[in-house]
Structures are given as structure tokens and as C-alpha cells.
């Protein structure tokens, strides 16, 4: 791994050469780092040609999440089964998902022990409540009454497309669980845990010294970077794992239910078009920088990833809240058919996820756990969404407060302009 003097010289020469033609102070295109060889896909191999990339643990957890989400709306599912999958890594129909890896052990992993326990209790609570008020309570959807203010129930979608099931506050707990995990699991693991681990002095020294993890083809720093990659792209079809955008950027081809799916959604909006490629380029460039022992560059790329993925959470939180407001404005039918509360439920989960973001300029989350708690209390107040349906000013205020912290406007996030 150690840079040879020749390589050092050539990098220096490359910089000097590029300096000559840099009179205009032109911006270096993202991903184009002088002297750094960045592959066109996420493929990294050692001198023997063996792959040094591995993120199977992340793929496992994302798939576990997808199976748990199915159970969340399957009547007859017990709390015990859900707990077993979520906390114990056992009981999955796809047997390859059973084992020592669990989602719960990674939820809010970077939080203080007290805050972490609080977050985990929230997810445990979603499971318990969903089993209690719906899955263990009723045999099937037909047995559930229509939801009314303050009462658990179903909302029938238009055109016989099935039902949305909501708690007494009008909240779909499966949405809260799903969108909350995007922050508490995927985003937190990427921006606060694994990318940060690649910035450790010991990890970097081991990487520079070419010290491989015992029995593996990679160093710790390389592996941690790949694990970050895995929490975003790990659920992709196997043949495009190294180039996920080539297939999954089409809405119909999204297989992930977590962060990647909403990166794709942000990409669909003309205001944010290009974000998916920027993130992918940053992942490749940063990984190449680690191979080249260039930790200034890998940190720069990590910060791009932190900023962009954090922004995805902010964009989707604002988008869904504003969509909810828009549908409420269309009239009672949009509440009766579940559309309005469905959007608000997704927004609720993304709002919860805000506490796991990472603003690279401060190293802190865009919103602290206490601030997020404040938002959630406002969304839960009285009869929750039923109450907010008569007070959309409160929803608009929340959307404004969120957008104000980010580098986008409410208008950009809420607009449905299709990307060209």
C-alpha cells in the first residue's frame, strides 16, 4: 500500500502540470482528482486481481428490513416473530438472513447509550403497537373498521388498491418504522459510523502500511468505506452492485426500500437532478483515495456523501409534509382514501431520521435529538394527523423550519417537476 517514490513523484508532477493550465482557477469536476485513478464502477482489486470489496453484512441487514416491512402489514404476524427478526436475527423466511447480524444492534449505533436506548425503544414500540392494535388483533383487513378520529382503523385506497392501516393518530406505523430506519440504520451507519471510522488515525496508519484484516484482501479502512457503500447500495441486484445507478435509477427498478430508494426519488426532481451520480462518484473517488493513501481526498469525498445523503432526508421530509398538506387541501376524499395520511406518515419517519444526519461543516446533525423530539411532539399532538388536517399551518411551519437548515427551499423540495 505504501506509495512508492515514483508514484509520489508522478502525483506531484501531475499536480504541477495541471497547475500550468489553471489560470482561470477552473473548478475541478467532482470525482476528477489529479493523479487519482478512479474506476468507472465500484470495482477494486489487489495485485492478484482479487476483489478487495466486501459489504455482505449490509446487504443482509437491508434485506432483513425488507422482509420485516412485509410482516408489518401481514395479519397474523406476532410481536414475537417481529422481535425475533428485528432484535435476534432469527425467523426469516429467507434463511440466509438468519444469523448473528441484526438490525437492532445497529440502530442509532453512534448515539450516546441513553439516546440510543430511547431510539431503540421507539422502534420496539412501533413493532409492539402494530402487533397489538392490528396484526394480532384482527384476522384480516376485512375485520378492521374504518379509521376515525382517535381510533385505529383502515382507509380504503381508490380503485380497489387495498388499504392503509393507521393508529389512533392516523399514523401508519409501518411507514414510521421504515422511514425512521432510513435515518437510524442506513444513514447513521454511513455518515456517522463507517465513513468516520475511515478517518481514524490507527485505521489510516494500518491502511498506509498495507496491513490487511486477517484472512482478508482488504484493510480496515477500505472495508469500512465499503460497508458505508453497502448501506446505500447493498440491496441492488447482484450483477449491478458495482454500478447500481445503471439499473436502479429507473423508478420501476428500485429494489431497495431504504435510503437508495429516496436518493432515486430526489434524483427524479429536476431541482436535484445529478445528486445520485454525485454520491456514486464520491463513493468511488473516496475509495480510490484510500487505496492511494490520500486521506485528505477521502475525507473530502466523505463530506460530499454526508452532505448529499443528509440533504436527501431533509428533502423527503419536506416533500411528504407538503404533499400531505396539498392532499388535505384537495378535500375529505384524500383523507378517506388514505393518501393524505400516507404522505404524512412517510414525512413523520423522515422527520425522525433528521437526527441522524451529518452536516460536514459542523460535524453535527442538522437537527439534534431534542429538536426532532419537538417536531414529533407537534406531529403527535392531540389526535395527531386528524388534528393537523384542520391546522395545516402547523405542518407548513414544520416544513419551513426543516428547509431553513438545509441548502434547498421548500419550493424546490415540494415541486413535482420531473427531471429531464
Amino acid at each position: 500500500m505504501k506509495l512508492t517514490n515514483f508514484l509520489k513523484l508522478s502525483i506531484t508532477a501531475a499536480i504541477l502540470a495541471s497547475c500550468g493550465s489553471d489560470d482561470n482557477d477552473a473548478e475541478v469536476a467532482p470525482g476528477l482528482v489529479p493523479g487519482l485513478e478512479v474506476p468507472s464502477t465500484y470495482v477494486f482489486v489487489n495485485e492478484e486481481g482479487e476483489s478487495t470489496v466486501d459489504f455482505s453484512g449490509q446487504t443482509t441487514r437491508l434485506r432483513q428490513g425488507i422482509e420485516i416491512l412485509k410482516d408489518f402489514t401481514t395479519f397474523g404476524t406476532t410481536q414475537e416473530l417481529l422481535d425475533g427478526k428485528f432484535a435476534g436475527g432469527e425467523g426469516f423466511i429467507d434463511a440466509t438472513l438468519n444469523g448473528s447480524k441484526t438490525i437492532k444492534s445497529k440502530v442509532a449505533e453512534t448515539f450516546s447509550a441513553v439516546n440510543q436506548a430511547e431510539v431503540r425503544a421507539v422502534f420496539d414500540g412501533y413493532i409492539e403497537d402494530q402487533a397489538d392494535i392490528l396484526l394480532e388483533e384482527f384476522a384480516n383487513a376485512e375485520a378492521v373498521s374504518v379509521a376515525t378520529v382517535g381510533n385505529v382503523g383502515k382507509l380504503e385506497r381508490a380503485g380497489g388498491a387495498g388499504f392503509r392501516f393507521v393508529n389512533a393518530n392516523g399514523l401508519e406505523l409501518n411507514q414510521a418504522f421504515n422511514k425512521g430506519l432510513i435515518g437510524a440504520l442506513a444513514l447513521d451507519q454511513i455518515v456517522n459510523d463507517y465513513l468516520t471510522l475511515t478517518e481514524g488515525v490507527a485505521e489510516q496508519a494500518a491502511n498506509t502500511g498495507g496491513l490487511l484484516v486477517e484472512g482478508k484482501t482488504y484493510t480496515d479502512a477500505e472495508h469500512h468505506w465499503d460497508e458505508a457503500y453497502g448501506y446505500l447500495y447493498g440491496a441492488s441486484d447482484e450483477e449491478v452492485l458495482a454500478n447500481p445507478n445503471s439499473r436502479h435509477l429507473e423508478r420501476a427498478n428500485v429494489v431497495d426500500a431504504f435510503l437508495y430508494k429516496y436518493l432515486q426519488r430526489a434524483e427524479e426532481d429536476a431541482d436535484f437532478k445529478g445528486i445520485a451520480d454525485e454520491v456514486f462518484q464520491a463513493f468511488k473517488t473516496g475509495r480510490a483515495a484510500i487505496v492511494a493513501n490520500d486521506y485528505v481526498e477521502s475525507k473530502r469525498q466523505a463530506d460530499i456523501i454526508r452532505r448529499q445523503l443528509s440533504e436527501v432526508i431533509g428533502i423527503r421530509a419536506v416533500f411528504y409534509i407538503k404533499e400531505g398538506v396539498r392532499r388535505i387541501g384537495l378535500g375529505q376524499a384524500e383523507i378517506n382514501n388514505g393518501n393524505a395520511f400516507h404522505d404524512l406518515s412517510e414525512g413523520y419517519g423522515f422527520v425522525y431520521s433528521l437526527q441522524f444526519t451529518n452536516d460536514p461543516t459542523t460535524g453535527e446533525a442538522y437537527f439534534s435529538p431534542a429538536e426532532v423530539k419537538g417536531f414529533i411532539e407537534r406531529l403527535d399532538a392531540e389526535n395527531g394527523f386528524w388534528t393537523l388536517a384542520d391546522n395545516t399551518a402547523e405542518l407548513n411551519a414544520i416544513a419551513d423550519e426543516i428547509a431553513a437548515r438545509f441548502n434547498f427551499t421548500v419550493e424546490q423540495a415540494e415541486s413535482l417537476d420531473a427531471a429531464n
Binding site: K8, T12, I15, A113, V114, A117, R120, L197, G200, D294
Partner: protein
Amino acid sequence: MKKCFVLLLIVMSFFSCDDDLVSNEENRLFDSVGFLSNVLTNHILPEFRTFSSDVVDLIEAKDAFVVDKTIENLLNFRNQYLVAYTSYQSVAKYGLGRSATINFNQNLNTFPFNLVELEAFVLSDQSKELTSVNTQNRQGFPAADFLLNGLADTDEGILAFYTGENGTDYTQYLSTVVDRIDSLSEQASNDWEGTFGNEFSSDSEFFNLYVNTYIQYFESTLRTMKIGFPAGVNTGTISPISIESLYKPEESRGLYLEALASSRLLYTGINEEQSSLSKILINLGEEGLDARIKIAFLEAQSQSNRLNENLRLQVETDNNEMLLTRDALQEVVRLLKVDLTSKLNVSITFQDNDGD
């Protein structure tokens, strides 16, 4: 053009960082040799001497019990075990030199004690040797805890194991456990009293290693093993059986507090005259950081005092207090690992264990 120049500087400074590390060590702004020699004289040697003498008493109590298996001798044995386990807490933070090569801490204090197929193990030759890596979790103080406190609910019941059908094997296992504590302690202690102690206290190269060992102990053993694991911080599921002193759980907090107090004393120093990490920071003009570290230690201590003496009970009844303790310890870890090391120009050379 300016941008490129900066980039070039960055790259150049990166290339030369190997040389920087060397010169930093030579040009430290404080007397690291004086510090190390103080740590040896005022902390390591006295603490090891106390521990060694407690282990001698433990051996005597064991011998008395082996010769005459009475309740009285069992109680005396148990007392001596606790005395030695308590003074062990102080020497556990010096896992370098011979202590590292003989896996001193792994052999003396891997917990929880492994119970699987216990009887077969007691009857096997393995229990009479305990030198294999596979038996690290079947020896040391956790094994003594089980053999003296956990074999049965009553003292009579415990005694019966040593006088009953397989009494010879149980006695021999217990004897081997205690003898091995003695031999490992002697090796570690002799090393500090002799060659390694001399090297350590006269070579500034050890400053880095010493600070790393100290912080790693505080993070991995004190914070994670003693508090974090039982509180379920990693898994999200509490694990009451992961406490230290599982078979006499009412002693678990006492052992932990001993370790914390001793770690704190190592930071502050035993008196005003002696060098210490705290003194070094103050001399560097970092009184603010020193004060923050001292406050964090005090807060960790005061939060820990709120815990039930029985940590198992604490986890089972009100785990939040354990989590608060873990967070208070984490604050110390953060200050030591990030702030202190950057002021002292020490690179952290141990890695976070976090992968899958």
C-alpha cells in the same frame, strides 16, 4: 494557481508525515521520561506489590482450605479472593510488557465464566493445566468466583463439591486456578520490578504506548466490558449475566468502582509534586482541558455511585442508570482519546472494533 499551490503543499506535507512523527517524539514539550518514571514508581510498582502480597495471602488461604475443608476455611478463602480481585483492578490497566505477552488480563479476568459442560471439563486434564488459549474463560478470578460462590446456593452445598465424589478433581481445579493467578502475577510483577520497568522508565518511546494502553483499557475494559455489555449497549438487549463477579453480584459495583478510582488517580497523580497526565496538560497551558477531564471523571464517579451495589439487579430493574453511567464514561473516553492525545501529540494506535 493558488489552489494548486495549496494542494501541492497538502500533498507534500502528507509525504513528509513519517519524518514529522519522529521529530515530534524527540521534541516533546514535556519531560516524558520523568513522567514514565513517576508512573512506575508511584503507581505501577506499589499497586503490583499490593496485588502480589494479596495473591500470596490468597495462596495461603487456598492451601489451608485444601488441607482442611471446613466452612471457616472456605469463608477465609473467599475473603482473600475478594481482596486479591479488588487489588487486581488497579494493575489491570498496565497491559504492556510481559503483561501483554502472557495475556495477563485475558487469563485473569475474562468474564462471564464459561459454564458449558463444566463437569466434564473439571474431570479432564485441561482443568489441571489452563495454559491453552481455549481455557482463558475458565480460569482467573471469574473461575474462582464460580468455584467459591457459585457452585451451590449454600456454603454447605459448595463445600460438598470439594468433599464429594469428584472432590479431588474440583479441589485440583480450584487449586490450579489460584496457582495460575499466582504464577502469572509473579511473571508480570517481576517484569515491572526488573528489566522492563527499567526500560519503560528511561525511554521516551514508551510514552505513546503507555497512553494508548491506558485509554484502551478505559474504553474497552472499564466502559465496554464492565458497564456497556451488561447494559446491552451494543446489542440493544440487556445482558445481566455479563457482569463481573456474576456469582456474587453484590460485589460487582465495588470492583468496578475500584477500577474507576484507580484510573482516575493515574490521571490526576497521587500528589501535587508528582508528574501526571494532568500535570503535563497544566504545564502546557491546557488548564481548561485538564479541568474538563477532571470534571468528567468526577461525574462518572458520582453517576456510578448511584448504581446498586449489585449491577445485575441494576440492569434488571433500572437499566437507564447503567446507560447514564456508560455515557459518563464515554465522555471521559472522548476527552482522553481525542483532546488529550492531540495536545500531547500521541497517535491512537488501537482500532475501534466495529465491523461485520
